[in-house]
Symmetry: D2
Subunit: 345 residues, 4 copies
Amino acid sequence: MKYSFCNDYSTLAHPNVLNALIKYNDEQNEGYGEDIHTLNARNIIKDRFSCHNSDIYFLNGGTQTNLVLISHALKTYQGVLSCETGHINVHETGAIEGSGHKIITEKGKNGKLYPEDVLSALKKNHGPHMVKIKLVYISNSTEIGTIYSKKELMDLSKVCRDNDLYLFVDGARLSSAIMSKDNDIDPSDFAKYTDAFYIGGTKIGLLNGEALVINNDELKKDFIYQIKNRGALNAKGFLLGIQFEEIFKDDLYFLLGKKENELAYYLFSELEKIGIRPYFPLQTNQVFIILDNKMIEELEKEFIFEVWEDLNLHEKVVRLVCSYSTKKEYIDLLVKKIKNIELCK
Amino acid sequence: MKYSFCNDYSTLAHPNVLNALIKYNDEQNEGYGEDIHTLNARNIIKDRFSCHNSDIYFLNGGTQTNLVLISHALKTYQGVLSCETGHINVHETGAIEGSGHKIITEKGKNGKLYPEDVLSALKKNHGPHMVKIKLVYISNSTEIGTIYSKKELMDLSKVCRDNDLYLFVDGARLSSAIMSKDNDIDPSDFAKYTDAFYIGGTKIGLLNGEALVINNDELKKDFIYQIKNRGALNAKGFLLGIQFEEIFKDDLYFLLGKKENELAYYLFSELEKIGIRPYFPLQTNQVFIILDNKMIEELEKEFIFEVWEDLNLHEKVVRLVCSYSTKKEYIDLLVKKIKNIELCK
Amino acid sequence: MKYSFCNDYSTLAHPNVLNALIKYNDEQNEGYGEDIHTLNARNIIKDRFSCHNSDIYFLNGGTQTNLVLISHALKTYQGVLSCETGHINVHETGAIEGSGHKIITEKGKNGKLYPEDVLSALKKNHGPHMVKIKLVYISNSTEIGTIYSKKELMDLSKVCRDNDLYLFVDGARLSSAIMSKDNDIDPSDFAKYTDAFYIGGTKIGLLNGEALVINNDELKKDFIYQIKNRGALNAKGFLLGIQFEEIFKDDLYFLLGKKENELAYYLFSELEKIGIRPYFPLQTNQVFIILDNKMIEELEKEFIFEVWEDLNLHEKVVRLVCSYSTKKEYIDLLVKKIKNIELCK
Amino acid sequence: MKYSFCNDYSTLAHPNVLNALIKYNDEQNEGYGEDIHTLNARNIIKDRFSCHNSDIYFLNGGTQTNLVLISHALKTYQGVLSCETGHINVHETGAIEGSGHKIITEKGKNGKLYPEDVLSALKKNHGPHMVKIKLVYISNSTEIGTIYSKKELMDLSKVCRDNDLYLFVDGARLSSAIMSKDNDIDPSDFAKYTDAFYIGGTKIGLLNGEALVINNDELKKDFIYQIKNRGALNAKGFLLGIQFEEIFKDDLYFLLGKKENELAYYLFSELEKIGIRPYFPLQTNQVFIILDNKMIEELEKEFIFEVWEDLNLHEKVVRLVCSYSTKKEYIDLLVKKIKNIELCK
């Protein structure tokens, strides 16, 4: 069996989550998120993220959450601004366009959008022959593992509000972002500075599930109709309610993020010691390094990981992801293996 | 606490299913349905439904499955034919239309479509100013609990093939249909006589999940792209794979259907004894009866159920659903309560 | 050559309209409706329909106008209510659904919707599992040639406003409706009692073109983006501006409607004299009569017309449409032919 | 009155076209393109472009034609490859995405795509998490006035066929492209080397209208349903049929393209004489030059033209378009004005 550093969704769920399911398995609950667990989970999140006026919905996955929120927020002729590397732009098989909306992209920097990117996109897209940008999509942590600083978030928020744009944060890896040692954004800031954001669960201890938090009143009305219309309303909504209720007990959600970051930093520092070069700056649980082709070939015999892109004819960028369930012994084995291969050269 | 006969998705999952999740919780699995459990589950279904050439995908719920399959099968100007009572027509918040396709309806009979309905719809819809019907949607068991006979299915299949139409069966309650004492359709018939059908799991023992079986080669190509494009591809596909793998062990899937049907028949016969009138013919796990308004008001103090529709000013049609997890003692309590109220009149 | 009573769009345009095109052919004009003729045409319509606060856009045809307006007015999970016979429901190849919206239908009466139909549809469609009706679509004159009375329009308007629904009038044959001798709706009433309506040009003297009048402020914003997004924005917008400018000179628009109605009444009274039975009440330029199959077969040798539907095995409903360009001599020939065939029986 | 070099659609139509409308104004014709003129126009085009097996449809404008064809060709999860400067990507207000399809872009060169761009895009977009590219969109002449050589077209065609991609040519300015003195593509080559292309009429002598030629059998079926579904089917189809019939008489279509190219070359050579620098290579009827801000400000007092983009703080790129109806005397006046302003500096 090969050990996988391929992603942070290769195991089922944190044991507490499964135990909660067993605990409540005899209960009858109302369908479609009208149950008591969903209500509890909403209240816990409202407390923890200081967003008592927000509306919260639980959805099945990231692409679905992006699709449902964005298609709800936009009129047919409106578009989204995303960083070129944004998940909606690269890895969702055209789901946003499938719902009718163009994604305008800017290059950004380190996987992040900045106010000047927003202004540049607005300048280029104007008048009735071009899509009207209405929503700015960012992810935190980003697809390449970086995070926004509080100032960056506030500046982006300001340029959005000044230009009548919604700001939406894809938080598929929000736990990891918040628990980064570089992070200075408080959970309460997301409700303050964005129109909507989601708290990813699938990548951090749940079987499935993302908690979408809608802060802007304009986006709240009839949202459940939109969910159903997209085939995203779960009959057994309480499956998600119970899981989120559990994962936020004693801040487990954040502890798991802390743990996966620590594992990633450990992996990274061990790799640095043996001279492996990083490709993107490390801030969360995704480690991007440069390996040569021969090394990759050897490693693939024992480990699973993603080759991100070709760097040149001889080297590639490789992504190693640490999850809360990643075992330290396999990190050590991986590093050892790399070291051995290096020595044999 | 009120006891619910509201639907067949008010409890989490069959214990075996939860135990399987715990059993496999330490495993790493590949994402997006590329794992071994999904493969096993597919093979088990192929054996049990004799559909070795079919492609099988696992999705989260009924509306999603209908949406993904139908939008995959149709070109933009093509439409679906459904019974007026069809789930896609009544209870999916316009999800099919949301994907761009008109639903043409015929009245049908007892919740079912017949060849003459198909021919009638084709006759009314012709030429480039009208939607081109390309797919016939039926559900089995139907939304009102009835089932198709083998002859009815074969006749419908023939008229579809003769007219170049796809036939798709919504099997949200397929277990209950197959295990009806009136049923003469063999599991293998669904692959023989339809272009696609799905085997519902959410309503019969799974946390969530439907198994979509695609029989017609024309519909197979690139189907996973379509799933992703609709936001319906699960990162942890193995969550569904494990569940389906488990629910088909020792035919548990069918035994649960048998059980819920038996409970429904028991409920119905007890009600008949005290003079309660049925509204739709009973064939599966949904019992439709006529109650007067006063009775409904009294019952609602202790039980949860759905008022289906007004029959007249004084009476309503009520739906009582039995699930595999419905407790017989509560059926007895319900019947007793009704009897007592009758006596007090 | 057979003479056609098939529709009211079988000739190019009123000579005045073509002459106007020749007159302005040397002019340079701004594109996309930013020209002086479009501005003039807008002002003329604002005067004539007393709608100085409305926004007016010129589009190419009826289906396109319905599609652009309705998809602009609705959020993805919202639907339209239409009479079963409504053009959007029957003869637009699923264009409304193609833009993502379900059409809910009620039977109505004589091709018209009444407040009780709206209330009935609202009662049947409620809650997040059903489409949220947000717009009521009617046509005037209707697809079967009938017209709304002022009271009917006002009552419908009231029920819509009371229930937060938009009211939209498809006026493909608005000239004919307004000029009906049964009509008591003033042109100014359309802006008063509807949220949007369109003034059909294609069926009454223009090469092409419908003038969409948007009364409700909520629907005005960014409408030109919506037009472009649907591929409906004409580079040479002035082609439509010039035509509408011309057709409203000296009330030509209304005179042509009057003329076609008179021709239809003449045709109808001549047919009545020889015992031909009407099928729908005659109010505008469309004459629906009952003919036997043999008669239809004979007539089709010399005339073109539409067979509307089968009445029984021996008789069919036939539609004869009079246009402003229909020649009276051919009406006489048609009647004479029918008379002769009757005599030969 | 300012004279406009803003575009090639600022006048109504070539006089022959208007005269044809007058000539046929008394005729009755069948609706929806079933008339004799549409048939004739199709046959003329089939002869002139040697595409006797192609299907031809007449549509109202470029964006509409692109939208109808592309949404017909693609399944929901498939996307289009376009040059970054492509009309569908920049100036159609998200119409293609509005129909559900992502546009993947490559930078290309001089407004054109090359086989290496196609291969690069295919390499970057692979697997079910990314849109499946299925159609390559190019325009000829391009948005910046350049044209494809026969070899470039053939090479692109080959890479498309090798990779199971459709090749579609937006020919809004096809006349100008074919009549370029640099052109070596024969009209017959478009049917040979593309799956579909359109012959633009709106920008070259018609009131409105583009002739879409579908060469690939896969794209032919039910195309008229798609047109109607998009609100693009004209009741008076013969309006377009008559115009195309006329514009191809005695090769008028090509003569007008030749004329506008000659005017552009004349303008360009006069500008060169006085030291004005070109921005894009001149091949057709669009002249792109660099002017300083002061010059632009002065010119705008007497002429209308489009400022394409900022070159730097002091200079901008300006587009001057010559149409068949552009008057030489105004070209001379424009050049004279520029010369005078230069002298005054």
